[in-house]
Structure formats: C-alpha cells, structure tokens
Point group: C2
Chain length 400, copies 2
C-alpha cells in the first residue's frame, strides 16, 4: 500500500483516539466494513479495535492474506470468535484490567443486535456503548485525498449525465434513461454499488424520474423517491415514458474507489409549467444563498433554517423537500464513503461546519401529479469559503 | 393490490404465527425492509407486528399513503416513535398483559443494536428475543408465485449471459464484460440492486473474473470473490484484461420484481489447462449427483458431505469452494428475496428439504494463480424431485 494511505489512516486513527479520550472511552470496536476500511485501508471481514492510546489491531476472519496486504495497522487472524474476548483482553491489558469494567465504544447504529449480544457476552469485563455519533463525526472531516476521490467521482457523474442528456428523447422510459447513465458510469469505473448507512435505506445510482412519477411519496429518506419498478424496490426510475413539458429530475451519483458523489439536474423536453419553472428558480436562489454561507462558523441548522425561510417567502413551503406529510426536514447531507454521512443540514446539527467537510446541498420542490424540480451540488468546505466539487453545467436543460 | 398477493401474504403470516406458537412467543416484530415486504406486500419505512394469533399491524413512518395502497394488512401511521410501545400495548392487550412479561421475537440478525436498545426501552413489559432463524425458516419455502418470480429473473439472466458471450473478446477487461451483462439485465428490468442479508456482505450483479484475478482470496462469503476495482469494494470484476486459455467465471444474478436468481457458467477463449478442464468436469458431476438427490427427505448437510466426498475422491479437496484457508464450507444456499437465504447446503442444516424451497447449487474449484471453474444452477424442490429454474445452456463455453 502507498505511504500516503499509511499516513492518512494513521491520522484518522489519531483523531478517533482523541475523541475516545474526550469521551472517557477505553477503546472502540469497529465492526462495519466501511469503518474498517476508513481506519485500516482494508475491507475484509473482521473487527478493528482502536484503544484510546497505543496501536490498533485488525482481527480478520477472511481473507487474512488480503487484509495483511492492504491494511495499514497490525493485522492478525481472528481465530475462533468464542476466543475473541480473551484475545482482546490479552492484547490490551490496559483496557481490560482485572477488577475494572472498561467502557468501549462501538458502531451500534449499524452493528446487528445479534452480534452486539454475542460481543457483550464475550467481552465480560467491558461494556459496549454507542459510539456512532463519535465515529461519524471523525469521518465527517475529509482529507485532501478523500476530497480528490470525490472529485474523480464528480467527473464520472458529469460524463455520464452528458451521455444521458445526449440520448434523452420523448417517450424514452425513466428506466431507459437511467440505464444509459448507469452504463456510462460503470464503464468509467463506478464500482457498481453506492453505500448508505441508514437501516433499510438503499440506493441504485440515484433517482431519475419525471413528472408525476417523480413526485410520488416514498420511504426513501430524501426529498424525492420516485415510483420505482416494483413495490419490492419502491424508489427511483419506473417504466413510465418521459413526456413533454414535465420536469425530469436527474439525481445521480457514482462510486469511484469507494467515494461517492451526489448531484441533481433538472431537464425538460419542451417547457416547464410556469409554477414549476418558478420553483426551479427558487431552488437555484437557495443554492446560491447557501453556497455564499457555506463555510466554517455557520451551523448546518442555520443553513437549513434560512433555506426553509426562503421557501416560505416564495410561498413554496408546502412543496419544499417533498410534499406535505412526506417532506424531509433537511437541506443536504455529508457525503464520502457513504451517501448519508454527517453533518446533516438539519435542525439538531448545531456545531459549526469545519474545513474538510463535504456536503451535498439539494434544494428541491415537489408538486404532486406534476413532478419535482431542483438542483444539487456537492461542496468541500475550505478555510473561509467552499468549493463545488460538482462539475456538470448548472442550468435547466431544455430540449426542443 | 391483487387478490393473489393478498391471499399469499395472509398464508405467509399464518405460517409465521404457527411458528410463533410453536416457540412460545407472544408475537414478532419485523423491522427489516425485506421481511416487511414479504409479510405485507409493501416496503415502506416502519415496523410490522405479527401477534401469535389475530391480525397483524404495519406501523408506518413513511410513506403512509404508499403503504396503505400496497399493504395487505392493517396499516396505520406510526406517529412518535416514543409512543410506539404504548401503542403496541394498546393494540395488542393479549400480548402485553399487565403484570406479565411478553416474549416477542424480532429479526435481531439484521436489526441494528441501536434500534434494539431503543425498542427494549420502549417495550417495557416485553422481552425481545432473536427470532431470525424462525423468520428465515418460514421464508425458505416459496409459494408458486415466488418460484415464478425467480423463473422470470432466470430468463433475464440467460438473455444477459448470451449478450455477454456474444461480445466477449480476448483483451476485454473483466469490468467491460460485466458492464455488458449488467446493462442487458437492467434494460430487461433488473431493479439495480441485489439484496444480501449477511452483515457487511454486498453484491453487484455477481462476480465476473478470469484467471488469477478470479482465484484471489476475498472477504466475500462465497467460493470465489474476485479482485475487484478497489480495496474499498474488494470483490468481483477488475480491470484486468481477459486472456486466452484461462477460465472466465461468470457468476451472475439479477433481481426482477424483488426476486433474485444466481447462476454460474465457465467460459474460455482457447483451451482450459488440463487440470482445470478436469476440475470443471468434476463440478458438473457434483451438480448432476446433487440434482439427482435434491428432493424432500435429504438434508442440506448430507448434500454438502457427499459433494465434499466427490471432491476428495477426485483429489481436489484443497481446491473445492475456494482454496486452502479461504475455502467456504457450503455447496449452495437458499435464494429468494435475498441471495443468502436458508437453508444453506452445509453442516448444521440437518432438517430435510421441503417442497417449495429454492436453492442455488454451486460446485466450484479454485486454483491460485490460474483461476476458478465451476457451474451453478438454481433449483426448485418439488414433491419428489427438483426443477432447474436456470435456463442458460449447461456447458463450458469455448470461444475460438
């Protein structure tokens, strides 16, 4: 592996250790594949233990050979799972002192309860506590290398969008358009999946839907879900043909080398209904205003509140980020190895932004029966401003 | 929704209730999207409660409108999560009697620990116990409608394989071949994702890899994982060009209307090395033998044991289902809404097969540095035999 990766993952573990100390935790057990990759450089099956101070260990079940080739930390064979508690206690006597009860953090927001209950039995001198917030906070600040990876994904998304728009025709189905874009991304190295952290949340390369189908209510934790192909995967593109004079929402991303991008553009064959054209303009205004303020010192919840206020002033509050009961209460989200990272531009995220954070900002308006309009870019927070990582042209794509 | 779906999901809930009674559980909480869909016909965000007797309720957070349109059970708005415990107790007084402690099953193999801990707090008069085995067992027997859905997926996989083989050329990368097949599947209605139940397990449309890259050890819980594009998604196709005289393993599936198929064919441009050609023949012999015995009355572990014995007799034990330390200890797996369903053809699965079970059988042999050969079909267990749902021609595809 590269020296850069070695240094970068070491810095990431150091930031995690600072947080562990700050929260009075003896160490942290990372069980999720994405977290393991982030802190080791390897995504094999196993567990990563990071003590509050000292060297981390990656206990690998499979494949040990591959983990040893990729990992930047001490990597050993897990052996029998039953013996894992004893092994940890032996490797980290300072964390598991006889007669005391260590408090360990773990990624309980993703770890299955079955595994949690087994680990709790195995780690008899330790208590497992939920460290998901802490883990997500550490990951929210990206290194220059991570920002570069997202830039590469942005390039691929832009090429794929171009190709999609080139082939877009009236009567083409949503699925056909999605397939064109997806195929182009895949040829450019999209890994074929996009990761979401939220339980039961899934995503293909995003959501492409037009007119009424785009505006259908959905389980998906985003402003627009789409009709989808089946009740067994009720989101994104359907087989509905794309018509004239209806908004075509192209909310897409791809995953290059583990990192994802998220962007949205609106297109139309013909002309948008005036109400929707106006709403599209308001989404651009909200994006511009957010961009101006998107820098360290402002908080995510302030950004959400001011976007909401702009939507209200435009008389579009009921349409903002979904419609009525199906509205979501955020303006955007962190993004990196997962598409639903922290911080969320939402109430409750009061800590100011920090340089290195990467955020997708996605003001959208939903009109039941008519469609969804909006725009989305992904931004890197810099010392005193932000940089758009998204490179697709910013406009309403109007086809004759 | 259709009357057929209504009847079918009612029958599924009845089978679940029989199991609940048999295990002395007062009811069961289903939290995973796939389970909710299986028992309600809808995959919105929420929780399904199935009492040991009486009507089930689907408590929906989002989208209530869509859930009510799709669901075959009583569907209500979840409301505040904090009030969920009280709501359940009110709706099911027989399950949550004052002064007693109800024991409820839940899908703890997939439910995140964080959610488990919150639910345990909310359900103060009830204990949550792991019912994953029970839930998986009910789902292992497919209805005729489910078998038909898998048949449709098999048709799409066959068309896509044809197209892939038509375009296969020496020097084409594994990713290019995968992209061709994936694109064809998507055009035919593949929903764009394949579901796996196992924690941290992921899958694209499968694994396409040739020569040495196919034989690389992998975290993936299957006989062959592949090199992949990056350490951040270390499986399946890589950008390695496909060469002459090396096995090309095409292990693919797709998801049509929620149901997945899994099949493998081996191809070669030129000629296979004699050792690998022989191993391929042994994989076919194992498949034939397994097929003959694949019917009610035999147990999954018997099928695995006899396949292992055949591999040993052929002197290929070290190469069977992966190589050396990276071998997996199974011959196949149940399949349906998820690709890793029950039963597994492995030790520990001693209950005899039942009519309606659907199983992917995948004898494979791994040769480090050289590649992987094998074959895989998906079968439906019938009253006294089995039916192959896979329709791709069964042969070693030899290209000039």
């Amino acid at each position: 592996m590269s020296e850069a990766l070695r240094g970068e993952t070491a810095a990431r573990r150091e930031r995690l250790q600072q947080e562990l100390v700050r929260h009075g935790l003896s160490g942290c057990l990372v069980t999720q594949n994405v977290g393991i990759y982030y802190w080791t450089g390897s995504m094999q099956t196993g567990y990563l233990f990071v003590p509050a101070s000292g060297e981390a260990t990656y206990y690998v079940r499979r494949s040990v050979v591959r983990a040893q080739a990729e990992s930047t930390v001490r990597t050993v064979e897990l052996g029998s799972f039953r013996g894992f508690g004893a092994k940890l206690a032996e490797d980290y006597p300072a964390c598991f002192r006889f007669g005391t009860r260590a408090v360990l953090g773990a990624d309980l927001d993703v770890m299955p309860a079955q595994l949690y209950l087994r680990l709790r039995e195995l780690l008899q001198n330790a208590e497992l506590t939920d460290a998901s917030a802490l883990l997500r906070r550490v990951r929210s600040v990206k290194s220059p290398g991570e920002a570069d990876a997202i830039r590469k994904a942005a390039q691929v998304a832009a090429v794929a969008l171009d190709e999609g728009l080139r082939q877009l025709r009236e009567g083409m189905t949503e699925l056909e358009l999605m397939t064109v874009i997806e195929h182009e991304m895949r040829k450019q190295g999209h890994v074929g999946l996009m990761r979401m952290r939220g339980y039961n949340q899934e995503i293909m390369i995003g959501m492409i839907a037009a007119g009424a189908a785009a505006a259908e209510p959905s389980y998906f934790d985003g402003p627009a879900g789409g009709r989808g192909l089946t009740a067994a995967a009720p989101q994104s593109a359907s087989t509905r043909p794309i018509g004239r004079n209806e908004p075509i929402l192209i909310d897409i991303g791809c995953c290059i080398d583990g990192y994802v991008i998220d962007q949205t553009r609106t297109a139309v064959i013909g002309t948008l209904p005036p109400e929707l054209a106006r709403a599209y303009e308001v989404s651009v205004e909200i994006l511009r205003r957010t961009e101006r303020d998107l820098r360290p010192s402002i908080s995510p919840e302030q950004l959400y509140a001011q976007a909401l206020e702009m939507a209200e002033q435009a008389g579009l509050a009921r349409h903002f980020m979904g419609y009525g009961a199906d509205q979501v209460r955020f303006l955007g989200h962190g993004i990196g190895l997962e598409i639903d990272e922290w911080p969320v531009l939402a109430k409750g995220f009061a800590d100011p932004l920090e340089p290195g954070m990467v955020l997708a900002v996605e003001p959208k308006f939903t009109f039941p029966g008519l469609g969804v309009v909006g725009i989305e870019n992904t931004y890197l927070i810099r010392e005193s401003d932000c940089e758009s990582l998204t490179v697709s042209p910013e406009k309403l794509f109007v086809l004759p």
